[in-house]
């Protein structure tokens, strides 16, 4: 498969009153056509800023200090804000965590969708409305005529998120970036939305970058996963491989920390310690301060070692295993 989005050595920093906060340090990942790519990690590890960087939407004191983001071979970072406007909501669309705050409360849903269509395509009003209605229908919303005439607050959270997905779909994107799209929703609604995303990928070949902190969500829908820790990639693999055969001590720790029915009554395996405050200042492995296997080589920064087909991990232990 050919790469759709190729992020190479991305670095992002925020200029704060307390100095330069380097929140993303050397992240690389490749998303292929027609797959759901999971980006998982704990709060503050840099998932959202990485996804915002793709569309050059990092909030103000933050900026990209180094790196390349290739979309079908095109460097997005070299584009002007004007050119980016065509990309945003065009070839690449975005869905956020809280659907309510992403919709404008004073306009009807239909009007907001029409605006998006007419920004990217020169078509007449009737044609546009037909497309909006069929898009609303394609995200399994019932009674699309009524939804078209509704204000956002008249819809439930799940319906709002479907409207957001419809808005993303309208310009027929190749990539949808979904930043925790189900975190604000109920579990039964979450299941519905995740299934919809899976369908969009399978039936239309749209790639999805799905950001979440829930390994369960990853397991249910993603094809490939990258695990982030403190602004760095620690492991990348296909979902099945990662869950069955986690290699990095952090991934292993995360999986062991999730309660499983089999271990009821036993203590969970917790990862001791806390996430470092400023990962950019750490010269060695970012996980070293909490790692149970830490040893002298960890004072240096490990690069991503290829362990198997589609499986990479940033840990010296793996390098030693694979290279004897």
């Amino acid at each position: 498969m050919k790469p759709l989005l190729d992020i190479q050595n991305l670095h992002i920093a925020f200029d704060t009153s307390c100095g330069k906060l380097r929140v993303v340090n050397d992240i690389s990942l490749v998303i292929e056509e027609g797959q759901i790519f999971g980006l998982v990690g704990e709060s503050g590890c840099g998932k959202s800023v990485t996804s915002l960087a793709i569309l050059q939407l990092i909030p103000k004191p933050g900026h990209i200090t180094h790196g390349k983001i290739l979309f079908r071979g095109d460097d997005l970072l070299a584009k002007s804000q004007r050119e980016m406007q065509q990309v945003r909501g065009g070839k690449i669309a975005m869905i956020f965590q809280d659907p309510f705050t992403s919709l404008n409360p004073v306009f009807k849903v239909g009007r907001q969708l029409l605006d998006v269509i007419r920004q990217h395509h020169k078509i007449d009003k009737k044609e546009a409305k037909k497309r909006v209605l069929s898009t609303l229908d394609s995200v399994d919303l019932p009674d699309v005529e009524r939804i078209f005439e509704s204000y956002p607050h008249e819809l439930s959270g799940g319906q709002q998120q479907r409207v957001m997905i419809a808005m993303a779909l309208i310009s027929e994107p190749s990539l949808i970036i979904a930043d925790e799209p189900t975190t604000a929703l109920d579990v039964t609604i979450q299941a519905q939305i995740l299934r919809l995303l899976r369908q969009l990928c399978d039936e239309r070949g749209i790639s999805i970058l799905l950001i979440t902190h829930d390994l369960g969500v990853i397991s249910e829908v993603c094809d490939k996963v990258t695990v982030l820790y403190a602004g760095a990639v620690v492991e990348t693999a296909s979902t099945d491989e990662l869950l069955a055969n986690p290699q990095h001590p952090y991934t292993q720790g995360l999986l062991a920390a999730i309660p499983q029915s089999a271990q009821k009554g036993q203590a969970l395996q917790a990862i001791a310690g806390v996430v470092p405050a400023n990962p950019g200042a750490i010269t060695g492995c970012v996980f070293a301060s909490r790692c149970p296997h830490v040893y002298d080589r960890c004072e240096h920064k490990p690069s991503l070692f290829t362990i198997g087909e589609n499986h990479q991990s940033a840990c010296f232990l793996q390098e030693e295993v694979t290279h004897g």
């Binding site: 200029d15 704060t16 009153s17 307390c18 100095g19 330069k20 906060l21 380097r22 004191p61 405050a277 400023n278 950019g280 200042a281």
Partner: protein, 308 residues
């Protein structure tokens, strides 16, 4: 947007280029406040100007070139002289040094505004906290009572009270307190109502802490910053009110020095002696502006991070 931002395109210097230092984040709120003020030219001006006015008020006899004239002694030989090396800002119609009068005029301005705001806060805060915390009929009674005071335009109410008690600075202060405290009741009440819903208040209740202790330990400390911001801005407004009252003869009485009184005296000599009216006017303007700017800066500092 704050006033100071409008004046100043870029706010202070660039942030430091060094690497992030987590120890800096843990600085106390006050250290952070000072840090922001130091980087903001207008806020810095405000602090310096206010400090200068306070020092003038406290040390007037030491600072004024002609202390007796500042206190009111006539010097009719030197009537309405323009600024010169002898009288830096000129003299008034009784020959008194305008600079000395201004320095002495800082006394009623600063003292009365501080007293008015302090007393208004002392009356308004407990009432607001009680109304906001308990709600229901307690709230209803207290708030209707404050509405009664708020229904009159504040300067009009003050004029009525002074007219009743007789014109003097003391009575002007009483009158202004009467029209200012309800604003603090309102402010504290609304802050308290949002605090009451916070989990730490519920946590205190779940432990069995009594209502009085909850208000004292958990509510009041968290109302301090909004009160501080509001009272800083209010001090400027009260200075405007006391000088206005003096101007119409209901505040400070001659021969005591007062900026409002000086402008009133200068009215007849606007053409002959520009210095006589300009300088007290500038003193009022700059002082009110300084308190407003400082209040705005404090609001910018505290508001977004009240509950990080």
């Amino acid at each position: 947007m704050s006033l100071s931002r409008l004046f100043l395109g870029k706010r202070g210097e660039e942030p430091p280029d060094n690497d992030f230092d987590p120890s800096l984040v843990q600085r106390s709120g006050w250290a952070h406040t000072l840090y922001v003020i130091r980087r903001d030219v207008l806020a810095m001006f405000s602090v310096l100007w206010i400090a200068a006015m306070l020092i003038s008020a406290i040390a007037a006899p030491l600072l004024a070139p002609y202390p007796e004239q500042g206190a009111g002694r006539n010097n009719v030989d030197d009537r309405l002289l323009p600024p010169s090396t002898q009288y830096l800002l000129g003299t008034d119609e009784l020959g008194r040094d305008v600079l000395s009068r201004l320095i002495y005029g800082a006394r009623p301005a600063m003292s009365s505004s501080l007293v008015v705001v302090a007393v208004a806060v002392l009356i308004g805060t407990p009432l607001g906290a009680i109304a906001g915390y308990f709600g229901g009929w307690v709230d209803e009674i207290i708030m209707r009572f404050t509405d009664l005071f708020l229904a009159f335009p504040s300067l009009l109410l003050a004029m009525a009270i002074v007219a009743l008690l007789g014109p003097s600075l003391m009575n002007a202060v009483i009158a202004l307190v009467a029209s200012w405290w309800p604003w603090y009741t309102r402010l504290v009440r609304s802050t308290t109502r949002s605090l009451r819903e916070q989990y730490f208040v519920e946590a205190a209740r779940s432990i069995g802490v009594s209502d009085a202790m909850i208000i004292w330990r958990h509510i009041l400390p968290n109302t301090i910053t909004p009160i501080l911001v509001q009272s800083t801005i209010d001090i400027g407004t009260v200075i405007l009110a006391t000088t206005s009252l003096a101007f119409i003869g209901l505040g400070t009485q001659a021969p005591n020095a007062d900026w409002g009184l000086m402008i009133e005296g200068a009215r007849q000599f606007l053409r002959q002696a520009w210095w006589y009216s300009i300088f007290p006017g500038a003193a009022i303007f700059l002082t009110v502006l300084a308190f407003n700017l400082l209040g705005d800066t404090l609001r910018d500092i505290f508001d977004p991070r009240q509950y990080r």
